[in-house]
Symmetry: C2
Subunit: 285 residues, 2 copies
């Protein structure tokens, strides 16, 4: 292991995901500190032994002693933070993140970053439809997918540290994708699905729906409870990929619709056989 228990880990942004990183890593024996916007967040995290130290200001001491810094911020805030505070970073520090879009931030941050520290992007594919450090839970990572998103500028060393963090937090599959591959894939598996869930709930104002639905509708709309500020930002930052996925989905959906209109039973069944076979490949163990 490149990481050892003497490493100081700083979490910047102590929401659901940042808080879950903090909980998981602190329980493993690391010294975990955090920066957050609100004093209540820090107070809660200290009181509940989620972190060892914390501050609402960019405390040069906290930043300066961190060997690993995990950014769990909105994309635009992340860039601002680097611009304002990178001067405090320890020489040799490894920076990573949990941001849901990559191309639009990874290259910019690597370009602006001091040459004696390294940023390696990552995306833990885990979440909940609730927010804040109060809801953080390191168990959301158990068995979940973890994607490391290196560029040509990254070292094998940094990729390995990222992998170790994922292993320590008990993620399942660990994959490596380029920023472009990541954004295309995330446009499909994450952003498109959120668009669908939001749309479904916008289709009906029937307040009695709750008494009629089965698990299928519940499942398809769980993520319709959505943080509109974060997700509208993520959608815009990945606009081209997401639009492509939305158009592809509409085309495929239209094809099923037209088969139904034409009573093309065999066409519909063929799509159902395909979906059944593909979905069977990834049932959670």
């Amino acid at each position: 292991m490149l990481i050892n228990r003497q490493c100081n880990i700083l979490i910047v942004g102590l929401g659901l995901i940042g808080g879950s990183y903090a909980k998981g890593l602190r329980k493993l024996g690391f010294n975990v500190s955090a920066l957050a916007r609100r004093q209540e967040t820090i107070d809660y995290a200290l009181k509940n032994a989620i972190i060892d130290e914390g501050s609402v200001s960019p405390d040069p001491d906290l930043i300066g002693k961190a060997d690993i810094v995990v950014f769990a911020l909105y994309p635009h805030v992340f860039k601002e933070w680097i611009g304002d505070n990178q001067r405090y970073l320890k020489k040799g520090a490894i920076l990573t993140d949990v941001t849901g879009v990559k191309s639009c931030i990874v290259y910019d941050i690597q370009d602006m970053l001091r040459k004696d520290v390294e940023f390696i992007a990552a995306h833990p594919m885990a979440g909940k439809e609730v927010y804040g450090v109060e809801n953080s839970d390191e168990k959301i990572f158990y068995g979940a997918n973890y994607i490391i998103v290196p560029t040509d500028k990254n070292t094998e060393n940094a990729i390995e540290i990222c992998r170790e963090i994922a292993l320590l937090l008990q993620f399942g599959a660990i994959s490596i994708l380029s920023p472009e591959e990541h954004d295309e894939m995330i446009g499909f598996v994450s952003q498109l699905t959120h668009c669908i869930a939001v749309t479904l709930m916008n289709c009906s104002d029937n307040e009695k729906l709750v008494d009629y639905v089965g698990d299928s509708f519940r499942d398809l709309t769980r993520i319709a409870r959505i943080n509109e500020n974060m997700w509208s930002e993520l959608f815009l930052l990945n606009k081209d990929s997401l639009l492509k996925e939305m158009d592809r989905f509409m085309e495929e959906f239209k094809s099923l619709r037209d088969e139904l209109a034409a009573e093309d039973t065999e066409g519909m069944k063929e799509k159902m056989r395909t979906s059944t076979a593909r979905r069977a490949l990834f049932n959670k163990k």
Copy 2:
């Protein structure tokens, strides 16, 4: 209660849902018999104490002693069965069903049925993405929604018996809808969601998807494992309602897509706020 433990209950069609009715009712002390297509199904159900008696032929004795008959068959098979076997039914028997579409069968069956028995349609909003009596489980009904679908021909007595079955099986909300209301609603909450799940899986042939997805994609595609014979039949039998729901969904989805293309952040956020507020109304207790 109108139903008592001396009632003989016959399940016609011993798949996942029929088997789950049988399990739940037999555990409550009812005498439960079943008709199924395959001898292995009957053997399995007898061996596992899911039923008291069973047959692969339309045994006049079994049919003739049933006070309540629950049909868990494909829609077209249901009508055939009534035509062929209603002469064996006990005078005063109450017939009910679990069929996923109503307008296209309820009126026909009530028209063709003997006047000394009564058919009251019902739809338990529960299921699983696996099939067969081997997977049956009465717990899938606990807290699930149950919809009773009477017509003008139904008596209060039959509606009450249906309600009692739902209560005995521990369903949650019990609602009453007309066949037309039911089909419109089911086109939206059940059939449309299955169309979406099937479409999502048809959008990508990436076999590594399993290593990238988060819970959102898993949730939205769980029902993409689908029985193509049953669901293509259900879609066709509810074609007009489902097409209307598919078109409404596409229109709403297109609206979100166009807001993204135009970078209309406020428009997107408004949809997200709506979806969040509406979905919050029906979180499972």
